[in-house]
């Protein structure tokens, strides 16, 4: 029995995805569409040409960062709902540096941008981390509130300090040319930049950090059991602050792909809630850094793939992507519930077949 459960548990995210997709496609049947056709459109639009695949990866890049931004604090027992605000601060910081020092040349300029984006996000993660560790105020509330503060701050800076005078849109002026990242030739006109490599490197680095270093072990120990960790001489407060600041910094790196890799400036409202989709990305990957690479790719593909639904079907719109995302999440969490119930039934029998 336990072998069966453990295999099922390993496959759980995959089953959840298949279940969510099947249910979602079944919904399209109710709208009078052919689900198989819808699936083909989704697939073609996400992977059909180098440009389409490039756009999928372009959307996946920020999701890798925000997925990690949720996962790292989660390993320390914290729930970071503030990735949206953290990525806003990161992008804003990168743009600010790029506008204030426009003449810095490559490769120093992108490095400066990365540093700024990371620091901007890290600051926005540090604040709720510190408040939680030192003052005991809940990080969920604080990160949500800081999302609003970040949005307000970004509006103010964009419209009153760094506004692009040549445009009606709420955006800053352009960063110096030395800051712009290279695009991959292969993907045609897709704005996919080397930020993708940074994202993959970040995921690998976080995996090494969490699972192969003492520091990472200490961070996870706090998440597993605060009292046990404290007894073992680990400062829970320090680990929590570290986890939130690191998570925030990772979210801030979203700004690299957007500001240095795509728009060349900060645009208000550039993110279609990458920070919140990141929660789903981390959840589906069960907070494993390598899994996050895959689940970010899936969510990126859904985001890109859905846009062609409007173009090619009569009755199904891109909102299907949201339905699919939610059904996948429901499937993942439903499995979690089932897991939790099983554990609860088993727990009283200490030493039994767990």
């Amino acid at each position: 029995m336990s072998a069966f459960f453990s295999i099922l548990r390993k496959l759980q995210p995959l089953i959840a995805v298949l279940l969510g997709l099947s249910l979602g496609l079944a919904v399209t049947m109710l709208a009078g569409e052919d689900p198989f056709n819808v699936l083909m459109i989704l697939g073609r639009s996400a992977f059909g040409s180098p440009y389409d695949f490039g756009m999928t990866l372009f959307y996946a890049t920020p999701l890798i960062f925000t997925g990690l931004a949720v996962a790292v604090p989660f390993h320390a027992g914290l729930f970071n709902i503030g990735a949206e605000g953290q990525l806003t601060m990161g992008a804003l910081a990168a743009a600010t540096v790029g506008i204030m020092f426009p003449s810095v040349s490559w490769p120093l300029a992108p490095l400066l941008g990365v540093l700024a984006a990371f620091s901007g996000g890290a600051l926005w993660g540090f604040i709720p981390g510190w408040l939680r560790a030192k003052r005991g105020s809940h990080e969920v509330i604080n990160t949500i509130m800081l999302n609003f503060v970040a949005a307000g701050l970004a509006s103010w800076v964009t419209l009153y300090l760094l506004k692009n005078p040549d445009s009606q849109n709420p955006e800053t002026s352009a960063v110096g040319p030395g800051y712009l990242l290279r695009h991959f030739e292969f993907f045609g006109d897709a704005p996919l930049s080397t930020a993708l490599l940074l994202a993959i490197a970040a995921a690998l680095a976080i995996w090494v950090f969490l699972f192969k270093t003492v520091k990472g072990f200490e961070l996870r120990a706090v998440g597993q059991s605060e009292r046990a960790a404290e007894t073992g001489g680990i400062s829970a407060a320090r680990e929590r602050i570290l986890a939130m600041a690191l998570g925030g910094g990772l979210a801030g790196l979203v700004g690299i792909g957007e500001v240095l890799g795509n728009a060349g400036r900060f645009k208000l409202g550039f993110s279609p809630e990458f920070g919140f989709i990141g929660i789903a990305v981390a959840l589906l990957a069960r907070n494993r850094p390598i899994g996050i690479l895959l689940s970010a790719l899936l969510f990126g593909a859904l985001h890109k793939g859905a846009s062609d639904l409007d173009l090619e079907t009569e009755n199904v719109t891109r909102d299907l992507s949201l339905i699919l995302q939610s059904l996948i999440i429901v499937s993942v969490t439903a499995e979690g519930l089932w897991d939790w119930m099983r554990k609860r039934n088993v727990q009283p029998r200490i030493g039994g077949d767990v």
């Binding site: 089953i15 298949l18 279940l19 099947s22 249910l23 496609l25 079944a26 049947m29 052919d34 689900p35 198989f36 056709n37 639009s45 440009y51 756009m55 372009f58 509006s155 419209l159 445009s167 009606q168 849109n169 709420p170 006109d189 704005p191 795509n262 645009k267 208000l268 409202g269 550039f270 993110s271 279609p272 890109k304 846009s307 062609d308 409007d310 173009l311 079907t313 009569e314 719109t317 891109r318």
Partner: protein
Amino acid sequence: MILRRLGWIGASCSLVFALAAPSCFAAGLKVALVLDKGGKDDKSFNSAAFRGVTQAKEELGISLKYVEATDDNAFESLLRAFAQKKFDLIIAVGVSQADAVKKVAPKFPEQKFAIVDAEVDLPNVRSLIFEEHEGSFLVGAIAGLTSKTGTIGFIGGMDIPLIRRFEMGYVAGAKQVNPKIKLKSNFIGITGDAWHNPAKAKELAIAQYSGGADVIFAAAGASNGGLFDAAEELKKLAIGVDSNQNWIKPGYILTSMLKRVDTAVYDVCKDTQSGKFSSGIKRFGLASTGVDYAVDEFNEKLLPPAVREKVEKLKADIIAGKIKVPDYYQKKK
């Protein structure tokens, strides 16, 4: 359990697949419409564009596809997707698509593009520009003539020069008929979300009405609904925008400032179909009834003949060049 359910779904999938007929497009011109965040049902700006292409579909037999963008990065890939699928004419609605059109249009020189509200200078792009200040001037005059309190209100959607242009014309029109008129003005927001935030619009409207305004003009896309709710609740008057919105709350909507995006969009479909597409900037002002104010069965009782006469006189004066309506775009330069 799970497997059984999956099997059931699989079976039903293949059944439907077998029954489904291959989708086919009507022959003729293929037109694509990319709407901005307000969406097709904003009953205002995007709705007007949608009405235009729908009319073209019915009368000219074009085939039509439309999409609503969800984020600013999507504009470019939507325009590109349509171009790659060999749509003959791609219409981008709204100033926020200007950059995307500038990037995509040069890469598809065979296809035609049109953009509403922004100037894009490319050989295969037609820019549809409206003289919003002229139409706003007329509804401003109507507001000035109707207001009993001597205070009128303005609610803008997103705070951009385009909407400031509405405001400036509106104030000038009201001052023309009542130099002592007072104005209360608010903007809903600074991002695209301002176009669909009726709750905030209602809040601002209630504040303006309670502050003494008895006529409010809102240029805020789908957010206008909030103003109309407030007008009905407090028994005051509102002025609609872009489409004729008089029907939404009859008796509370004094008039609507018409911006004939529908006609402009219809015309570009027609011209493209008959091979007469021309690029460059097309301006739509009072003279060409590209902007106007709406009178119909829902608001004729609210507009006494004396008011209408005066406004018609002002309209004639503007067309004749006797009155120069201040233009926010000119002021900036």
